[in-house]
């Protein structure tokens, strides 16, 4: 039979049972809708992470305590005692193509000011820190190298700390107390928002790392070393130099540090969301298979209902192939209908998710193409058996069918 009339016949058959067609397509609608939504969430999350990684600063290399083989990158904080200020100084002195180094000491502590108190992150850094992190000072200024040398009691604070401790006044020149030691606020950082791992980056008090180590936390080692490479192209070389230097400094001991570039960090962060995306995709695919079985079921019903029609067509000269194509096309159109409605509901659902749940979404154009392809393939696969059943009918018996 000619293709245009096959399409017309199939559309008419679907329209005749509107409700049934929609209900049958529902499985596919949900499946495709879920795929589109999940992919858009994964895509959106990835885009957000990439933006956050970019916000980490420019060309950042981070040295963590603990070797990567022992999982030190995560668990190492506070437990390993391996990175020293000397390591950071050696990097600053000996590695080429770097713009800044900051030994970091991190801690959480109670901060008091104005009779208010607030538990926040106390970070010891070098004066390079705002520059490395690409983080502006909006009021006052960063402390100086001199402050580091003299273990000065000065602090640069984030927006959240300002809001908590100095709600109605200019914090510059004010005093806050950490472990009962008075620190003078010399600068306020720009708003930075939430980090890759969901923490509030503005909830921070930055003091010279020397003051942190000698006065506040009283520890001999540092948490991490932040290094800024001079250019993105040389980042890998710089990383290699740092690794070589630190290995050399350890004189044959097991390497007890891990060096990560910004890109590697991003990859680690997106890996989680990708795993989640794959998991949800699996669930969505199950729904698609269920939808396909629904299509198969309703096509079998349709073939039985239209046995006489099939008999007529076969009697007046249709080949088995003509009948097969007719029902296959009907099945494909049915699941394509589900696919198209699924795409629309998927777009709707991801908009709702980003508006009401704050989940970042970004519709991937390829996912729409895949949805169309997948739904036609489902129609093809699950429609094949019913269509074959129709094509194999005997015309006499089909005509006699009540």
């Amino acid at each position: 039979m000619r293709f245009s009339s096959t399409i017309r016949v199939a559309l008419r058959a679907l329209r005749r049972n509107k409700m049934r067609s929609i209900l049958t397509a529902l499985g596919i609608i949900i499946g495709i809708g879920a795929v589109i939504t999940v992919v858009s969430m994964g895509n959106g999350t990835k885009a957000r992470i990439e933006a956050q990684v970019a916000a980490l600063g420019r060309n950042i290399i981070t040295v963590y305590p603990g070797s990567s083989s022992s999982g030190g990158m995560r668990g190492g904080f506070g437990s390993s005692v391996t990175l020293t200020v000397e390591d950071a100084e050696a990097i600053a002195a000996e590695v080429a193509d770097i713009d800044g180094v900051s030994p970091e000491v991190r801690d959480r502590n109670q901060v008091l000011a104005n009779g208010l108190n607030w538990s926040t992150n106390i970070n010891g850094e070098s004066p390079d820190y705002p520059y490395i992190k690409n983080w502006n000072i909006v009021a006052g200024s960063m402390f100086s190298d001199q402050d580091v040398k003299s273990l000065a009691k000065v602090a640069v604070i984030g927006k959240t700390v300002v809001d908590q401790l100095f709600p109605n006044e200019d914090p510059i020149g004010q005093t806050l107390r950490i472990r009962n030691l008075p620190f003078r606020v010399v600068g306020v950082l720009d708003v930075k928002g939430f980090s890759l791992f969901g923490s509030d980056q503005d909830d921070v008090v930055i003091i010279p790392y020397t003051s942190h180590m000698k006065r506040v936390s009283r520890r001999a080692n540092i948490s991490t070393i932040l290094v800024q490479g001079a250019s993105p192209e040389k980042l890998d070389v710089v990383k290699q130099h740092i690794e070589d230097l630190l290995t050399q400094r350890r004189k044959g001991r097991e390497p007890d540090f891990t060096v990560r570039t910004q890109e590697e960090l991003a990859a680690t962060a997106t890996a989680n969301s990708e795993a989640m995306t794959f998991l949800l995709m699996g669930v969505a695919l199950v729904s698609l298979v269920v939808g396909g079985i629904g299509v198969m079921n309703i096509m079998l019903v349709s073939v039985t209902e239209r046995t006489r029609e099939i008999g007529i067509r076969l009697a007046i000269g249709a080949h088995g192939r003509d009948v097969l194509t007719q029902f296959l096309i009907e099945a494909i159109l049915l699941s394509l209908l589900g696919g198209v409605l699924g795409i629309l509901s998927g777009i709707g659902a991801s908009n709702l998710a980003s508006i009401y749940m704050g989940i970042p979404t970004l519709i991937a154009p390829w996912s729409i193409g895949v949805a169309v392809g997948v739904s036609s393939v489902i129609g093809l696969c699950f429609g094949f058996f019913p269509a074959l059943k129709a094509a194999r009918l005997d015309p006499i018996e089909a005509l006699r069918y009540e």
Binding site: I312, R313, D322
Partner: protein
């Protein structure tokens, strides 16, 4: 001229049940172009079975069948389908029109298959309209089967049977679901087509319907027991005219009472 239908010692044995049923037992038959044959016989005598064989819908267990000179026994399923499409027209007892499909589209159906694929949509439409015209239904072309009377539906079915200019029009009990007046109308359509040269073979139970044909075959237990030309043939046009005068008379009689 060679007969259009030529069957020799044809048998059909149904093996599907517990005991095989010998439904047709050695029928030989020649039907020439322009004939108008009625197949008669008691229920179960094998009329439908023979019609299915003639219609190439079923294969004989034994014997040969030549349709328009072609031996059908060697043909495969698709070749048989093409043969049916090209050489045969079917009219079934229950009309068997496609539901929710307009009369015109029902008539177009045979042209969507087989060698007609290459016809343009306009050509198909024109040809279907021609056939609807020959059964007097041009004004019902857009109606759905459920909007048509039984007689009209059967006429649509006849038009569909004619659309590919078949060698033989086969009709199994074409008047079986119709009242006597509509039956006569349908026989009128058949007579007109037959006069135009179309060969018709039909099954009927009713003697008076068989009298509209030119030749009557009587089957009993799968064999032809009688084969005779119809003498004193009924002419549908005349019968319809008679019916009309009778109706008018009845109305005249009834009106004073009303």
């Amino acid at each position: 001229m060679a007969p259009v239908v030529q069957i020799e010692e044809i048998h059909k044995i149904y093996e599907s049940g517990e005991v095989p049923v010998h439904a047709v037992r050695g029928v030989s038959l020649d039907i020439h172009k322009g004939e108008f044959v009625a197949l008669m016989g008691a229920s179960g005598s094998g009329k439908s079975t023979l019609m299915n064989l003639l219609g190439c819908l079923d294969r004989p267990t034994k014997g040969t069948y030549k349709l328009d000179g072609i031996d059908v026994s060697g043909l495969d399923k698709n070749e048989l389908a093409d043969l049916r499409n090209r050489k045969l027209g079917f009219v079934f007892q229950g009309f068997n029109l496609l539901a929710r499909t307009s009369a015109l589209e029902n008539v177009e159906l045979p042209m969507l298959y087989g060698r007609h694929r290459r016809m343009s949509t306009a050509q198909i439409r024109d040809r279907a309209m021609e056939c609807l015209e020959s059964v007097g239904l041009t004004n019902r072309a857009d109606h759905m089967p459920n909007q048509l009377s039984g007689g009209q539906q059967q006429r649509v079915a006849i038009a569909r049977g004619l659309v590919n200019q078949p060698q033989v029009l086969l009709a199994d009990e074409p008047t079986g679901n119709l009242d006597s007046r509509t039956s006569v109308e349908v026989m009128g359509v058949f007579q007109k087509l037959n006069e135009a040269g179309i060969t018709i073979v039909m099954v009927t139970h009713e003697l008076d319907i068989a009298r509209y044909c030119k030749r009557n075959l009587i089957l009993r237990d799968g064999v032809v027991v009688r084969d005779e030309a119809v003498k004193d043939r009924s002419i549908a046009a005349e019968e319809l005219a008679k019916l009309k005068t009778a109706e008018t008379a009845a109305k005249l009689l009834a009106s004073p009472a009303a």
